[in-house]
Amino acid sequence: MTEVAVVAFAQAPNVRRTHGTTNGVEMLVPIFDEVYTRTGLSKADIGFWCSGSSDYLAGRAFSFISAVDAIGAFPPIHESHVEMDAAWALYEAWLKIRMGEVDTALVYGFGKSSAGDLRRVLSLQLDPYTVAPLWPDSVSIAALQARLGLESGRWTEKDLAEVAARSRRDATGNPRAQFGGETDVAALLDADPVADPLRRHDIAPVTDGAAVIVLASAERARDLADRPAVIGGIEHRIDTPSLGARDLTTSPSTRLAGEAVGTDGVEVAELHAPFTHQELIVRDELGLGDAVRINPSGGTLTGNPMFSAGLARIGEAAQRILDGEATRTLGHATSGPALQQNLVTVLERG
């Protein structure tokens, strides 16, 4: 079957609030331009379009339809959408190319989290009969997960603060990150919890943003990028939605997806962890040792654009190969509460 490669990646600046609309057009048009310029492709060259976004985030029905304006969908295009992080849209696009239906695809995700109250909106992804009617917010649920690990000795508050400090330090090298800088672990730990046991630094910011990836068959990819990042494997798995029925300090779905793609020899990993302790869970389930560079972009803790943060992790992992800095990298995306669904992809120098 056809091999598939990432040939370009771009993301909008991660910001706390844009003045734009919830249909993402203002964030998408410039980054589409970026990847067109980099690949020399135009919209007419794209065989398949696939996006990830959410009507709950936008507060209106079929919001992704308006985003299609950013494409200029005439003559009519071959298009699809997932109500998930666009990493899953990338999976769909990968399949289209694998099956030989098309040889190029453009995948994008966008979200204006600032339009509503994000952690409250996210409670609507929970079981609608017995959980969502209580409106448990995403931060509180992650805090329950964090405490389980703290009290079982799986991690310490210092471990979590170190993840935050490293992320912020790395984000200083990423001009599109929401914030970054040198921070002192002890100073971070002096802060009061905001959702005990979580402190502000443990929680990804609220971010408006968008990201785009262009995929091509390995054959086409050679004409579009000097060093295409070939998708060596991509898998996704899901755990039970019943939060109280699983061990929240583990992520079997991440482990299974990682085993399916094979994580040996990975030099750089971009992990989609909106909470500090979740990075530790994912890293452990993927068997990533100390030699693996984690989230050189600063990761989700320094910019969490809903519905494109997972796609951006794959994009950042691919960029290391496109830039010639690495030969084997890993991108991870998550969706749902407390790491319920996970997608893992390994990218290789072609």
Binding site: H19, G20, T21, T22, V25, E26, V29, F32, K43, Y56, A58, G59, R60, V68, D69, A70, I71, G72, A73, F74, S114, A115, G116, D117, R119, R120, V121, L124, D127, P128, Y129, T130, V131, A132, P133, L134, W135, P136, D137, S140, I141, A143, L144, Q145, R147, L148, E151, P193, V194, A195, D196, P197, L198, T240, S242, L243, G244, A245, R246, L248
Partner: protein, 334 residues
């Protein structure tokens, strides 16, 4: 100061009515009777709340068993500022609680009278039932510590509506619950695009402002921000007259909730002179039977002191009496 787009609160809500099926139906029915049921999984574990299919084997489950209204805190987190709809409306703990007789944990609220130091993992807690259970997860108002519960009742979010009322006077608490109502209310700030904002501000001055695509030359009103055909930002502003034609229309004969005009009346696509995209508006001022494709119309504006940033400044369109536009002149706008 750079030009700011218009924005406004967007508050949406709906009371979802959900059928619960046989497993959750028995769970909800038991809650209305102040009892908690779990379901036995393939491996013998008792799940509370019950699941319809085993998470491991996917086998359908139907053996419901009683569990206690008392249990142990497995994990907790503290909420200093409760959000709308959350069970307890003063500082409280979210907790995963394993009820006695259950093997999985239930997510719910623990009230400690607002005191964060009064909650811990391993703590024994018990259900505080709602005053009037209806067969809903909120029949469990919240949990309180078994030892030293708060002296006063916690303020709570408004109770969900009952899906089915028991027969009055019968005292029938055995009726089975087959539906739950789960109100969802969300609050957003909706932003118009800069292009839409200019269009809306112009409307407040009684002007109709469109934009021309720099690539294909089409004129959009309202402006789109990006030409849907070309995918490029629309930049050149074009002021349009308040006259145009009906491209296509329908006669509304059916009354509906919130209707402002008595049927029959005409909803039509109006193509302003010089525009390439029609918009939906009303055609009044003639018999509905007189409205036709190609008919020339003019905007009937509301009194100036009622104008704001909305197309509703135009009350409706009405015929000008001029000769109809020939079909060929608007065929490509249909």
């Amino acid at each position: 100061m750079p030009e700011q787009p218009l924005s406004a609160p967007l508050d949406i809500g709906f009371d979802y009515t959900r059928s619960v099926g046989p497993v959750l139906g028995r769970f909800m029915t038991a809650l209305a009777q102040r009892r908690v049921l779990g379901v036995r999984g393939s491996d013998g574990r008792v799940h509370v709340p019950p699941v319809e299919y085993d998470p491991g084997t996917a086998e359908p489950l139907d053996e419901l068993v009683d569990v206690a209204a008392e249990g142990t805190v497995v994990s907790w987190s503290w909420t200093a500022d409760p959000l709308p709809g959350q069970p307890v409306q003063r500082p409280f703990a979210w907790a995963l609680i394993r009820l006695d007789g259950a093997d999985t944990a239930l997510l719910h609220a623990v009230d400690t009278g607002g005191e964060p130091t009064s909650v811990r993992s391993g703590q024994r807690v018990r259900i505080r039932w709602a005053d009037e259970p209806v067969g809903h997860i909120r029949d469990i108002a919240y949990f309180v510590p078994v030892t030293d519960p708060p002296a006063d009742a916690a303020p709570t979010a408004p109770a969900p509506p009952a899906a089915t009322s028991p027969e009055p006077g019968t005292g029938d608490d055995t009726a089975s619950v087959d539906t739950v109502i789960t109100p969802v209310h969300l609050n957003y700030t909706h932003s118009a695009s800069l292009e839409e904002s200019r269009y809306l501000r112009a409307l407040a001055d009684g002007r109709l402002l469109g934009q021309r695509c720099p690539a294909c030359g089409k004129v959009y009103i309202p402006p789109r921000g990006a030409c849907p055909t070309c995918g490029v930002p629309t930049t050149d502003e074009v002021e349009l007259p308040d006259t145009g034609i009906v491209t296509t229309f329908c006669i509304v004969n059916v009354p509906f909730l919130g209707q402002r005009i008595k049927p029959p009346y005409v909803g039509a696509y109006i193509l302003l002179d010089g525009a390439d995209i029609p918009f939906l508006h009303l055609v009044l001022g003639c018999e509905v039977s007189e409205v036709r494709m190609g008919m020339r119309v003019r905007a009937a504006w509301k009194p100036r002191d009622e104008w704001s940033t909305t197309l509703e400044n135009i009350a409706h369109f009405e015929p000008t009496g001029e000769a109809d536009a020939p079909y060929a002149s608007y065929a490509h706008h249909l």
